[in-house]
Amino acid sequence: MIETTDVVIVGAGVAGLSALASLAEVAPTARIHIIDNHDQPGGQYYLQPNPAFSVDGRLTHRAEAETLFQRAQAASAQWLLNTEVWAAAPTGQAGDSGWALELSAPDGLRRLRARAVILAVGACERALPFPGWTLPGVLTAGAAQNLIKSQRVLPGRRVVVSGSGPLTWAVAANLAEAGAQVVAVLEAAPRLVWRGARHLPALWGQWHRLREGFAYWRVLRRAGAPIYLGWAAVAARGETDVRQVEIARLRPDWRPMAGPTNRRMLDADTLVVGYGFTPATQLSRLMECRHVFDRSAGVWAPVRSSDMAASQPGVWIAGDGAGIGGADLARVEGQIAGLAVARHLGWLRPDLARSRLAQLQPALRRQRRFAALLADVFTPGPGLCMLAQADTILCRCEDVTLGEVAAAIDAGAGTVNEVKGLTRAGMGFCQGRMCGDLVARAILTARGLCEANDLSQAGAATPRLPVWPVSLAHLAAAGRAAPGRAAPGRSDTNERDPARR
């Protein structure tokens, strides 16, 4: 089944909903499809419990979420929920910058052609390997928060929270409020106050964030949770699941210090880790948008113009999927992308577009300044990214250890792709989302380039379709429905290696 639309928005989180609202408000006749892989819009930030599960009163951020939901619902868009985009290719007609997206939903596959694509796919948590990080009981800050917020389930009883950045505090406070014993809260960023002080101007105007942070701190103080600044969890121990967590004080370069005064072993059944986020670039890379490695934030991010246009015609990218900036920045970027697409497709006069876009620039600059602060203060330094030992698993999907990756590097593999070919690291279900950067870091370490922190020196894994697993039964059914097109997607002649561009 092939459908056509004017604009497809991939992701119904803050950026996607904001793009939808701003686009639909200036282009009420536009045909818009919005896709999300969850059963409800909102993304992770405005995560909504399932309707069968009700919560009295307001959830955090509920009021601002309602406003955005109302604006998005007012748009006459087609909502495709529980749907993943597993491939995308240019439609390839002359003078046309359109795209064909391959969608996978529980009831089967479908194809959607669009004149413009707005990617608002968000981010996932930065993986940071350490001995024991694959034990049951080690989970990310986002996972812990989702369990509490949308399931009202505790991940454990005695919990250590280790991370860097605001989410660490939020999750620790959520856990304490929900009745877990917070054994320790570790904010890894070394010399936090000193480093933060350099960014005081960027904090101006961010009062709601400061208020929120203070509230979390108060909850933790009241719960009696020990707070360690400049410490991090360096190992989780236990036979079948977490029983103990080893913590260490960090040097200014984030390297754990040795010696008994700088190390402690805590009894805990759960370790929550959150060291920031990584943009989900699988789809934008598959679409051959140009990406660069942002050393300050430690992430790969697509290159964009000031109106969120990617390097590929017909593609705009907004929100955390283009660089980590959080909900407030995502909202502004979504607005800009929506207006830019409206202008591109002729629904908004260029002069009006120019003035509307100019109005958004101060907010954009303010939120980017704040994002730069967070990146500068909280991005883990190389010292904390090399805790893995030879038997520590880097690629969770394919069970590939650091030792196996190191052996491949010794055998001559110099890029992420070469290590992938020799070890299968990055070939599993998650398609390298977790381990891609870890393999790159192992390569840099072996070459003595670790301190430069520039993962692009190891290349990036070439994205392969499907970027999400697709059911073979669904593929077969799609093939029967459209003979000769059993494996839809890009044509081979179109394939290039984005890492080489």
Partner: protein
């Protein structure tokens, strides 16, 4: 474990779980509530080891947002002949669902 809505002094806003349902985990009946994910039910039951890869030990919920695939479990399906693997963190529990947390290893060995 599940957080009780009625817990005294809890600053969390009260919540109401959905209708009770029964699902089967590794052959054992378990009471769950509509609207809960499989990961939520499994953790509420204290079952943290969700998946066993061929060579290594158990894994558990890790990313919680459907990205890492560490929480894959097998679900028996009426419609299809074989069980399908799903991500426990993004799959809702449904009445009568039969899930297996160790099927991956058995299938491979």
């Amino acid at each position: 474990m599940r957080i009780e809505s009625s817990a005294p002094m809890s600053p969390l806003t009260p919540h109401h779980r959905g209708r009770p349902i029964t699902i089967w985990i590794d052959g054992e009946p378990v009471t769950a509530f509509e609207g809960e994910t499989l990961a939520g039910v499994l953790l509420a039951e204290g079952r943290r080891a969700l998946q066993r890869h061929g060579s290594s030990r158990a894994r558990g919920l890790y990313c919680g947002i459907g990205v890492c695939f560490e929480c894959l479990v097998m679900v028996e399906s009426d419609a299809e002949e074989e069980a399908v693997s799903v991500r426990a963190c993004v799959t809702l529990a449904r009445e009568g669902m039969r899930i297996h947390t160790r099927a991956m290893q058995e299938n491979r060995s």
